[in-house]
């Protein structure tokens, strides 16, 4: 019987070999992909087992981990509630993370390869591992003022430092409180999330960078102006057609001015005046005269259709691909299918403010380890050079006239030269206009560029215009940054 016993031994050896192979496959070859599976509680628990780094605005932590007694050792809290939710995002056991919490997770959690050598020392000294902290570019005052100014209205505010691209304010309204989502009480977190998801006002949507985009209305006239001035055929004093209404070529439709009058005597108007009073007929005809390629290419240079992440991804703004003349006329005043994000319009103002050099917007200025050593810092980068400094300076003059004596007087700050442009965008019959303001200050040495959108007329409703609703908000934000 010894021969079959030996063979049985071979069978047993084969079975054990199979087990050695299967365990090796799982624990060596598949370990990484198993860890990365969505919903892997162990990976989540591991991420809660050490102190997550803070997210800072100025010297204040706006997202910080606090020790708890439950089995998730650290609770993520947001001391200022919803104020910075647009930037920080949330960090939830059940729903994952968003915003900077997500984009900088490897640093905050301390898993980044860049922290590896620092952690070796922690392991040797027995110090518990801790994540790195992330410093935001936000200006606390501007963020507070913008949030307060928007109030209950739906909309968004973006403020940029035109010289660097640093984001000074990033506000969307309504927003949400990330605290309940981070709760370790899973039922409470679930209830909070479901409520946010089912809210018709869509508080989880960041209207500043990736809402459904808005028709930019008259703020788009800045881009048409840039194209016109860059073409060499126009100067601020050039006389352009400005009738009360313009017959769209090949149709019986008329494109009117908002104020139902001609923009100037003999249906003519200077280019600077056309921007100052937001003359639709002038811009429609200038746009048609320039041709769609010139307008589209200028829009693209400013960033339309281009990918961008701040580090959250910004939905690219849209200028339609092919247009007939009537469509081009409407597109030139920011209507038809033109769509822009508040971030994009803030970038347009910032580029004009910065002498034609458009900087890439960024939200994180630096990452520091627990010893406060800087691990990574963001250096300003040029996004594009859409216009010459000459054109930028001409545009600045035109925008200043909007605030000193045009549609944007509500944005005026005593003692400061402010440049701006209003927008009042129709977006369907029966709906009130979405109103805009974008601009920068001080005009000579710009410190802040801003874009404000208020959906559906805000608190004023039917009679709302960019000058009435959006300009005062922009004014307050600019004042906050300038320290007025």
């Amino acid at each position: 019987m010894n021969v079959p016993i030996r063979r049985l031994g071979l069978v047993a050896a084969a079975m054990f070999c199979a087990l050695l192979v299967s365990t090796t496959i799982i624990q060596f070859f598949q370990a990484r992909s198993l860890d990365d599976r969505p919903g892997n509680r162990r990976t989540l628990l591991a991420s809660y087992s050490k102190e997550r780094g803070s997210i800072l605005v100025g010297g204040t932590a706006v997202a910080v981990s606090k020790p708890t007694n439950d089995d998730l050792k650290w609770l993520r809290t947001y001391p200022q509630g919803s104020l910075y939710a647009t930037a920080t995002g949330y960090y939830s056991f059940t729903y994952g993370s968003s915003g900077v919490e997500r984009a900088y997770d490897s640093f905050l959690s301390g898993n980044s390869d860049k922290l590896f050598y620092r952690h070796i020392i922690d392991v040797l000294t027995g110090k518990p591992a801790q994540g790195a902290s992330v410093q935001l570019t936000l200006n606390a005052k501007a963020q507070e003022v913008a949030t307060k100014a928007l109030g209950n209205q739906r909309g968004a505010v973006v403020a940029l430092d035109p010289q660097t691209g640093a984001i000074l304010a990033l506000v969307t309204s309504p927003t949400y409180d990330p605290n309940p989502l981070a709760s370790h009480n899973l039922v409470a977190a679930q209830n909070a999330y479901t409520q946010l998801l089912n809210d018709p006002a869509q508080p989880l949507v960041d209207r500043a960078i990736n809402g459904n985009l808005y028709p930019p209305g008259s703020t788009f006239k800045l881009i048409v102006s840039a194209a016109a001035l860059s073409s060499g055929k126009y100067t601020p004093s050039t006389l352009v057609p400005g009738p009360a209404e313009l017959r769209l070529p090949g149709t019986d439709n008329y494109l009117p001015n908002d104020f139902h009058n001609a923009c100037g005597p003999d249906d003519k108007v200077s280019f600077i005046k056309a921007l100052q009073i937001s003359c639709n007929t002038a811009y429609a005809s200038v746009g048609m005269a320039l041709g769609q390629d010139a307008v589209r290419s200028m829009a693209q240079k400013f960033g339309f259709g281009q990918p961008l992440s701040i580090p959250m991804s910004v939905t690219p703004s849209v200028f339609p691909a092919t247009l007939n003349l009537p469509q081009l006329a409407q597109s030139s005043i920011g209507q038809f299918d033109v769509r822009a994000s508040p971030m994009q319009m803030a970038m347009v103002s910032a580029a004009i403010a910065n002498g034609g050099k458009e900087m890439t917007p960024y939200l994180v200025s630096s990452v520091r380890d627990t010893n406060l050593d800087v691990i990574q810092s963001t250096s300003p980068k040029v996004f594009s050079n859409p216009i010459s400094s000459q054109v930028a300076s001409e545009l600045t003059t035109m925008m200043e006239s909007v605030v000193t004596g045009g549609t944007g007087t509500n944005a005026a700050i005593p003692g400061v030269q402010v440049a701006g442009k209003t927008g009042t965008a129709q977006h369907g019959s029966g709906e009130n206009a979405d109103v805009w303001f974008t601009g920068f200050a001080p005009a000579t040495n710009p410190k802040v560029a801003v874009a404000v959108i208020v959906e559906n007329g805000g608190t004023v409703g039917q009679d709302a215009t960019g000058g009435i609703i959006a300009a005062p908000i922009a004014k307050q934000v600019m004042e906050a940054v300038l320290g007025q």
Partner: protein, 453 residues
């Protein structure tokens, strides 16, 4: 058979003691490690509990010195290490929030298991005595196997009716049945192996045995099928099946049995797949463990093993409690998570060593019954490890069995300690010098002899 020698072979009891102390040190360190990792202190009961465990193991060692001096020296240390690590892990999972307190029970059953093993060494001074009760064992096995189907004492736990219970006490009879049927088969096959291998007709080139020689096997076979159908216990039925085929092959030395067995197995599996929804589910989960609409227990075990990686999270520092049945069917993934691939390899090698020592005992054994019994017991251990570890690591569909010595569960511990006692008894017989054995035989016939040792 072996050459008669007057030089007594070494008993190797000293080697056993050294290995045993090593095993105990590892277990006590592991226990301390768990306490430090979870409660930041050395467990207060290290001296009492750990010392108690060490005393139990050392008592067994002393009994071996006395009652089975030539027994294999490797088995007891390995089994002690496995049992000890199992205790540590069961205790460790007890410490995780929301889990049952299985540790004290497991410790109690360890003592019961060792006591039963010691009892076996006393009760069965020679394994050949077991042959006297061939059919008693067979009948007892079948009856015990069917007890969970009885109305009052049968218990249905987690979809399988494989438990019996009285009051707060529950027991899984299939573990004991495994031993009873192995003894029965070894004994029966020794008697009938000639008939089974020689008598009969050829059919399609395969020699088939006579129906009357097959009778008892068919009865046991049907009983194991009953386990599958009426108790929904796939693991046990797979284990019995593999065991029968293996022992038949060893007894008859005919490959035809393997072919017949494999054929029956494939046909049976396919029929089960078609008829039993429970089984189809298992196959689906085997192929696609992350199927979102089905149980995620395999998935959770896999993610646990993934979290452990090569070196493991360290005892007490993973989250094995996230897996269902983390201390019973899924204790292997629990070890994989906390001790890593390295720890799992060590455990698998220990199991392989038990099997190897068992088969080696079978080869060295001088009587056919002992050979068959030892190879059956060793092979059943190999099969059980393969079925459960293969189940949780997706080599085969998960069918649910305990990991010998590791899993929480009294019946399993008790049965495996008895198996080890039997293997020790047979190895003692196999390694004992021929002379002494003859003396022992003579002694039983009331003949005056002179002791040589």
């Amino acid at each position: 058979m072996s050459v008669v020698s007057t030089v007594a072979p070494k008993t190797r009891r000293g080697t056993e003691l050294v290995l045993l102390v090593g095993a105990l040190v590892i277990v006590l360190l592991a226990y301390t490690n768990v306490g430090l990792a979870i409660n930041d202190t050395v467990p207060v009961d290290l001296a009492t509990l750990g010392g108690g465990f060490a005393v139990v193991a050392l008592i067994f060692h002393l009994v071996l010195r006395w009652k089975a001096p030539y027994a294999d020296p490797v088995l007891l240390p390995i089994v002690t290490l496995l049992n000890g690590l199992g205790l540590v892990m069961v205790h460790r999972i007890d410490l995780a929030p929301g889990d049952p307190h299985a540790g004290p029970k497991q410790l109690m059953w360890t003592a019961v298991g060792v006591a039963a093993a010691i009892g076996m060494l006393f009760l069965v001074p020679d394994h050949r005595r077991l042959r006297r009760y061939t059919f008693t064992f067979g009948a007892a096995g079948v009856v015990l196997l069917l007890t969970p189907l009885l109305p009052v004492i049968g218990r249905n736990i987690n979809g399988s009716r494989v438990w019996i219970g009285l009051g707060g006490f529950s027991f899984q009879p299939s573990e004991i049945v495994k031993i009873l049927l192995t003894i029965f088969f070894a004994s029966y096959l020794v008697q009938t192996r000639d008939a089974l291998s020689l008598v009969g007709r050829r059919f399609l080139g395969l020699p088939l045995p006579r129906a009357r020689d097959l009778g008892p096997i068919i009865i046991a076979w049907l009983a194991s099928l009953g386990v599958l159908v009426f108790e929904s216990d796939l693991g046990t039925s797979l284990l019995f099946f593999g065991l029968f085929v293996g022992m038949l092959y060893v007894a008859t030395e005919r490959r035809s049995w393997i072919i017949i067995g494999l054929g029956l197995f494939l046909a049976g599996s396919y029929t089960a797949y078609l008829l039993i929804a429970h089984f189809r589910e298992r196959v689906e989960l085997w192929l696609n463990p992350f199927n979102p609409n089905m149980s995620d227990q395999i998935a959770k075990g896999l993610m646990g093993m993934g979290a452990g990686g090569i070196f493991g999270t360290g005892l007490g520092q993973g989250h094995p409690e996230l897996t269902y049945y983390a201390n019973s069917d899924f204790i292997i993934p629990s070890f994989g998570e906390e001790l890593g691939l390295i720890g799992l390899f060590a455990i698998l090698v220990m199991y392989a060593l038990i099997v190897e020592r068992g088969l080696r005992t079978a080869i060295a054994c001088r009587d056919g019954f002992g050979k068959l019994l030892a190879s059956g017991l060793a092979f059943s251990m190999a099969l059980q490890v393969f079925v459960i570890v293969g189940g949780v690591t997706r080599v085969i569909p998960l069918t649910g069995l305990t990991s010998p010595f590791l899993s929480a569960g009294g019946s399993s511990l008790l049965a495996n300690w008895v198996i080890v006692a039997l293997l020790l008894r047979i190895s003692d017989q196999a390694r004992r010098p021929e002379v002494e054995e003859r003396v022992a035989q003579l002694g039983s016939d009331d003949t005056q002899v002179v002791k040589v040792r």
